[in-house]
Symmetry: C4
Subunit: 245 residues, 4 copies
């Protein structure tokens, strides 16, 4: 069976490359991590830059993948080993159209301990419904920690279930959204909220935090659809000023 790769709006490719650079600029990714977008013309495909440090991404680096994470037009360009994270979540969650995978440093501690992440403020409201922790040991034993095939991607997607964020023990996290803007926004504010929660726990002397309640989180996260566009407008502008695209 041959898959026809639909044409892609060049502005969208530029936005996806810009998203990689935004995440690098905001300290969410360093030399590692990736952001993808479900193909707007065919939900059985997704777009992601080639394997390299996200800060170097350009519009010409975007590869199209099927949902088994097979590259369809890579040519000589390499693919991220952990692309299966993206394909398997897109399969399980038709409501999700963009995914960020990162090792953002303030988030990792929450995957190393039993302290659950909470929504520390309305901008991080998407955390109020919980952020489950994926421990690759449970199904796969001793590994190199990488989500390097479909089976591991499926296990991660099943841990994510119906949430927006999943943590990965001793590894990092994934942030999901129905738009590119929203997944980037959530990846940034997961990192910010983790930093806030860590400080709050230092102040709390063991008492529970007055964080967002679940219903507050649901109501506040609805506003973030617009909020993510305001943030994107700033962050995207910064990339254009640096790159010209």
């Amino acid at each position: 069976m041959t898959i026809v790769i639909p044409d892609t709006d060049p502005a969208l490719l530029a936005d996806l490359a810009a998203a990689s650079r935004i995440l690098a600029k905001r300290g969410v990714v360093d030399a590692f991590g990736h952001v993808s977008l479900r193909h707007p013309e065919n939900p059985e495909l997704y777009l992601m830059p080639k394997s390299q440090a996200p800060a170097l991404a350009t519009p010409g680096d975007i590869i199209t993948y099927d949902l088994d994470s097979e590259p369809l037009n890579a040519g000589s360009r390499g693919s991220f080993i952990e692309r299966f994270i993206h394909g398997e979540i897109y399969k399980l969650r038709p409501d999700i159209n963009s995914i960020v995978h990162s090792h953002s440093p303030s988030v990792i501690p929450f995957g190393l301990t039993r302290t659950p992440m909470v929504g520390t403020f309305h901008t991080a409201a998407f955390l109020a419904s919980g952020a489950p922790v994926f421990d690759i040991r449970e199904k796969f034993g001793q590994t190199d920690m990488l989500v390097c095939d479909c089976a591991k991607g499926i296990a991660l997607a099943e841990t994510l279930a119906d949430k927006h964020i999943a943590l990965m023990r001793a590894h990092g996290s994934v942030a999901c959204g129905k738009t590119l803007q929203l997944s980037v926004f959530r990846a940034v504010f997961t990192e910010v909220s983790a930093r806030i929660q860590t400080a709050a726990l230092l102040l709390s002397s063991g008492e529970p935090l007055d964080a967002l309640e679940e219903e507050e989180g649901r109501l506040a996260d609805a506003v973030n659809d617009a909020g993510s566009l305001r943030a994107w407008n700033l962050w995207r502008t910064e990339i254009t000023m640096e790159t010209g695209w």
Copy 2:
């Protein structure tokens, strides 16, 4: 009844837009937050940039509002949802002529716990009289956390009462002053002092901090009137070097 919008000194509009950028540059605001100025010609009006990331504000973005936070000359420009914070504080507190609302990250933990903010050093002396916490749940139950109408603005203003700073649970804070320079100064040093207090609590092993006493705070804060001008001179210069205005 028609309100005549008085002319505004263009230098003042530039200063207000610059204040937005100063707050972004100092890490007090990111894609969100806003700073306003009571109109110098008519105390029943206030000035605030249009709804956008503060780092992008320009002198042409300033809208005039009445104290019910109705925009008087917005044209096609959008208004911040939470502008009611500003209008209602201006109504209740004739001594306040400028307000900053932010989600500055080191401050949020103090709204999530029972640890009161203190004045950790003379530059943050305005905190020595206390920083009350506004919990929107108390009057309004489960909400999206936003101060999106006059009633919520009034409740926040009543929590602020006669203080310079109010924290907002799971949201952020407001910093007020009799001048633009002073509200910006207080927003910046509320963030700095929060960071200092968090570290001090880590060192204190549960003993009370040797922070500013209330009278020390009152005396030291009087000096900050001049101090805020020295800081402004630096911060405003940086914006001029970047923008040309």
Copy 3:
């Protein structure tokens, strides 16, 4: 009695202005703080920039003071209120030729608690002999916290005694050295060491830190005479690249 102000090497004035900017660039000072130099031609005088944010200092801003901190050639230029810190330490400590006063944020917590600063590594070896805390309340009761006259300067100098660093409760600190390079170096590494010690205390579960012993500190600090020149060479170069002087 007329004091003849000796000529000053223009390169020295540039170095002192650069020291102000170095401290700003390294996060030791923000809009406040100052660095001075005993006059190389007359030990009864000292040099310090005019009152302004240190990041703005230029060689033309340097004022000459006598040791009572009276400005001798200020003209229309303003003087720092707290210049008495400098004059009184120079009087009491003939071995000190340069002083930095700052509110560097990681250091302030050590003036708010009973936790003494230690030398966390050899570059901060000057802390191994101790950093006493000056509490202005003890002699002067409720004040605006500022060292704004000779009496308060004397009290601070007496607390400093024979040390390199003194902390000031709810205010900041002073760092001293026999050269400009050494006082700047010590101000920078007091901040760095405070940050390291804070993290170490978090790890230590209440056990004492394996910090520098006093004799290790004495031996290691001797090496910092050369070390401060290596750091200066880097930091001074950065200022020249920005300012041309």
Copy 4:
């Protein structure tokens, strides 16, 4: 006996100077610290920049040393006092071809306490096999803390034994690798992992961290051979954009 100094590929000299600047840019070194490379043509020699702040290194600054850390072609260029760290590790560990010595601030606390470093995520997998602490007091009593001769270098190398990282009490650390890219990568992620572990310990309420197990560490570190090249590609590019080489 005369040692013939083999020719060195100019691209390699540029890479070694760039490595110094990369470490400075990433906050691993400040005015101090050094990175060396075993000579690719003669394993009994190593290459290291002259004594200066690493951020200033240029390809023309590289000196060749024998394994007793005698400079062979220094001319008027000064040598780092602590070069014996490098020579003695190269002697004891033929598998190591590059070494970074730094005082990176988040790592020092682990040398001041009994808390062992762990591998907090797969990128820091090289820490999962442990990071022993070298206490110079044990063999040498009260010193200036510097590894300033062969005997001290040997003692440090023996503490390192077969690990990738050794901490130095009240001083800093060394990070080793079989390539320049890998030693730089390990120095950077030792600092990042230290910061993550410190936050995780704050969250953990005394329970052990769910860090990498030793076998996970071994498997994940194998992947870092490729990972270090991806990071290098980004970091090296940044230096070329700044320096032209």
